[in-house]
């Protein structure tokens, strides 16, 4: 039996429902690509599951008559696997003469650094050498390990599908399968799917098994689908909860990355709770305790501390006093995480220069940084000659000296 999600995969771009903006952006990018004018050689389609990312790529390939080279999460995507299966195709002409091609690497956020060794860097290489458009998809593009890929790609965001779009597709399928089903039943299936068309179609197929007619009673067999909310949604639930208990709801999301959540809350709490200093201070107090609970848990292996940490960062934050009335806030990605990854290179450079100096003046890097560099900076800013004499006598270039004093 073919899954309906495959059987009814859209064949034309117009058959892909919802996300009009993303579709437009993607087609525009492809057009630029074909003219050799695209700013980025690859596109990263990201968004929640079942929002149409993969379907759009399939529809494009089908409509334009392109060969689709696909590698998804069920395949091994180590360095050698990617090289073997995709590299040749990406370089050579198509088997079918002058036909175009499109390369799809599905769910790149699922690539495991351990099992798919070298996978991510190989994808970067692939993007560089490919003669055809490369398209990646991901649910969570903000995973730090994906940063290099993000930079190499045109980012195109897919949002959760609206209920009406899902109902429309379900109706269409029922018609083709010859199933009678009332609209409010389909609507219930759509609600339960929480914007995930793939889930809705799977549910429909499950219920319709061996039936020609379905009603509301049939859908009771469906389990509640746990939502894979994005960090933005999770932060919003915590920071706009009216009662602390409401914030606890986010703990039910599968795969909640609580360390990430802590950083996201810390980044955004000020924006949401301004102008109430009481609320910000209370919220931060809860965050600081959640933070230290996690640190103690990890250091001393006291796993029983985890619930406290989780509750502090959700219900604890939401129990802040004097919270301001709800307002819509555009949340930001934690600046700290962004800077940390950028910082690595800088720190390595600093370490190398510092090493040259500390050997000569018999202090630690820390002493250099905290007790000597501040004086060097004053000298640099006030007496060019003296500064030059110092860095030359230490065997440093001017640039290296500037690294040390943070110029």
């Amino acid at each position: 039996m073919i899954p309906w999600t495959e059987k009814y995969r859209p064949k034309k771009i117009t058959d892909v429902v919802g996300n009009e903006e993303a579709k437009k952006k993607f087609i525009a990018w492809l057009n630029l690509w074909l003219k050799g004018k695209a700013r980025k050689k690859a596109a990263l389609l990201y968004g929640p599951p079942g929002s149409g990312k993969t379907s759009l790529v399939h529809a494009v390939a089908h409509q334009f008559g392109w060969e689709l080279i696909e590698l998804n999460a069920s395949d091994v995507r180590s360095k050698s696997a990617i090289r073997e299966r995709v590299f040749n195709a990406a370089r050579m002409g198509s088997l079918y003469g002058t036909r175009g091609k499109i390369i799809l690497l599905d769910e790149v956020d699922g690539i495991s650094p351990r099992e798919d060794a070298g996978g991510l860097s190989t994808i970067l290489e692939l993007i560089q050498i490919s003669n055809y458009p490369v398209v990646l998809t991901a649910n969570d593009p903000w995973d730090p390990k994906l940063r290099p890929l993000r930079e190499a790609c045109e980012l195109i965001e897919f949002k959760k599908l609206r209920k009406t779009d899902i109902v429309k597709v379900l109706e269409e399928i029922c018609k083709k399968e010859g199933i009678t089903c009332e609209r409010h039943v389909l609507s219930a299936i759509a609600s339960n799917s929480k914007g995930d068309l793939r889930a809705a179609i799977n549910d429909l197929q499950t219920i319709a098994m061996g039936k020609k007619r379905i009603d509301l009673a049939d859908i009771s067999i469906l389990g509640d689908r746990a939502e894979q909310a994005s960090m933005f949604d999770i932060v919003r639930i915590v920071l706009t909860a009216k009662r602390p208990e409401q914030a606890l709801a986010v703990l039910r999301f599968p795969n909640l990355d609580y360390e990430m959540l802590l950083q996201w809350l810390s980044e955004n709490i000020i924006y949401q709770y301004t102008p109430s200093y009481r609320a910000i201070a209370d919220g931060y107090e809860a965050l600081s305790w959640a933070d230290i609970m996690l640190a103690r848990m990890k250091r001393k292996q006291i796993w029983s501390l985890l619930p406290y940490a989780l509750q502090l960062m959700t219900a604890g934050v939401a129990s802040a006093r004097e919270k301001p009335p709800f307002k819509f806030v555009k949340y930001k990605f934690p600046e700290k995480l962004r800077r940390l990854s950028r910082q690595k290179e800088k720190r390595e450079k600093y370490r190398q220069v510092a090493k040259k100096i500390v050997e000569k003046i018999h202090v630690s890097t820390r002493t250099l940084r905290n007790e000597i560099a501040p004086f060097l900076k004053i000298i640099y800013e006030n007496d060019e000659d003296m500064a030059k004499k110092i860095y030359r006598s230490l065997g440093l270039t001017r640039e290296e000296f500037e690294t040390i004093i943070g110029k």
């Binding site: 910000i280 600081s288 640190a295 700290k336 500390v358 890097t365 007790e371 006030n382 110092i390």
Partner: protein, 328 residues
């Protein structure tokens, strides 16, 4: 070419050149004369000559070959005890050059090692004790485990007396052709007390500003030593601009490269600064100290720098807001 950083340029090269810590120096000279010594532990505050004494001892023991017979390590910079042990092992394998029957290992900032690492170090000391002698250097003797203390002759370095510090500063100024007022010398002493490294660094940076150093020059230099962002960060928090306060904090951490603990210490210093302390109306100093001390503790325990410091700053913003409500 000598190094033009005055702390290094005027670092005494031999034991004879060291004027202070007379008792200690005379014992060290005795080790040189007899060409025998136990393991040593130098303890005392920063800038009192511990590293200088260790290097001078090496110099006097081995003369021109001192570098070949001395392994200098800094516990804060080596990545873990295994790296330290390996470096010692590689180094201790060869015999000393010259007529001294042992080689030296100088391990600076040894009190930054965990007690587990110190245990491992103790075994290493025993393993190579036939061919090497250790000089361990620490600020706090209490942070060195007892089994190591008991294997070492302990020397306590005292903060340098005022007259010696001033004499040294004047002498350096003379060598460098810099004039300095008595009042300026006093100001340097006030700030550095018995820490000669800090005193000389202050002198050199003041000399970079003006060749005739008066008291204002010293204050100008000292005012620039601490990143101004610390004060600005607190001021923004007091004004209630937490987003700007966070920007300053991030500058300190990412541009200056300070650790969370460094920032906490600077914050602490601002609160207790003698010239312009941070005070909030109706807020007891004790509350501020508890706030900062608590964040310090949490960061040491492994908590996140930024979250802990922002928790402190948001509390300061709240206290400031309440204080201004009360007063007006």
């Amino acid at each position: 070419m000598s190094i033009e950083l005055w702390v290094e340029k005027y670092r005494p090269k031999t034991l004879d050149e060291i004027i202070d810590q007379e008792e200690i120096i005379s014992r060290l000279k005795e080790f040189v004369r007899t060409k025998s010594m136990p393991h040593l532990l130098f303890a005392g505050p920063p800038g009192t000559g511990k590293t200088t004494a260790a290097l001078a001892l090496a110099h006097d023991l081995y003369g021109e070959y001192w570098r070949d017979n001395t392994l200098e390590l800094n516990a804060s910079d080596e990545r873990g005890i295994d790296v330290i042990r390996k470096r010692i092992k590689d180094y201790a394998r060869t015999l000393p050059i010259g007529d001294v029957p042992f080689k030296l290992v100088i391990l600076d900032e040894a009190d930054n090692m965990t007690s587990d690492a110190q245990q491992a170090l103790r075994r290493t000391m025993e393993l190579y004790s036939r061919t090497t002698r250790f000089i361990l250097i620490a600020n706090y003797i209490s942070k060195i485990i007892e089994p190591i203390q008991s294997r070492c002759a302990i020397f306590r370095f005292q903060p340098l007396p005022k007259e010696d510090v001033l004499k040294r500063l004047k002498w350096i100024a003379e060598q460098e052709g810099v004039e300095i007022d008595e009042e300026a010398l006093e100001a340097i002493w006030e700030e550095s007390q018995g820490d000669l490294r800090k005193a000389i660094n202050t002198l050199q940076s003041a000399a970079a500003i003006r060749k005739h150093i008066d008291v204002d020059t010293v204050f100008e230099a000292l005012g620039k030593v601490r990143p101004r962002e610390v004060k600005e960060m607190i001021e923004e928090a007091v004004k209630g601009n937490l987003v700007l306060a966070r920007e300053k904090l991030r500058t300190l951490i990412y541009a200056y490269g300070l650790s969370g603990i460094d920032v906490i210490k600077l914050l602490h210093r601002e609160v207790l600064s003698s010239r312009s302390p941070i005070r909030l109306d109706g807020v007891p100093l004790a509350d501020l100290l508890v706030l900062i001390g608590d964040a310090n503790y949490k960061i040491v325990e492994g908590a996140d720098d930024e979250i802990q410091l922002m928790a402190v700053l948001s509390k300061i913003a709240l206290l400031a807001k309440e204080a201004s409500k009360r007063s007006g």
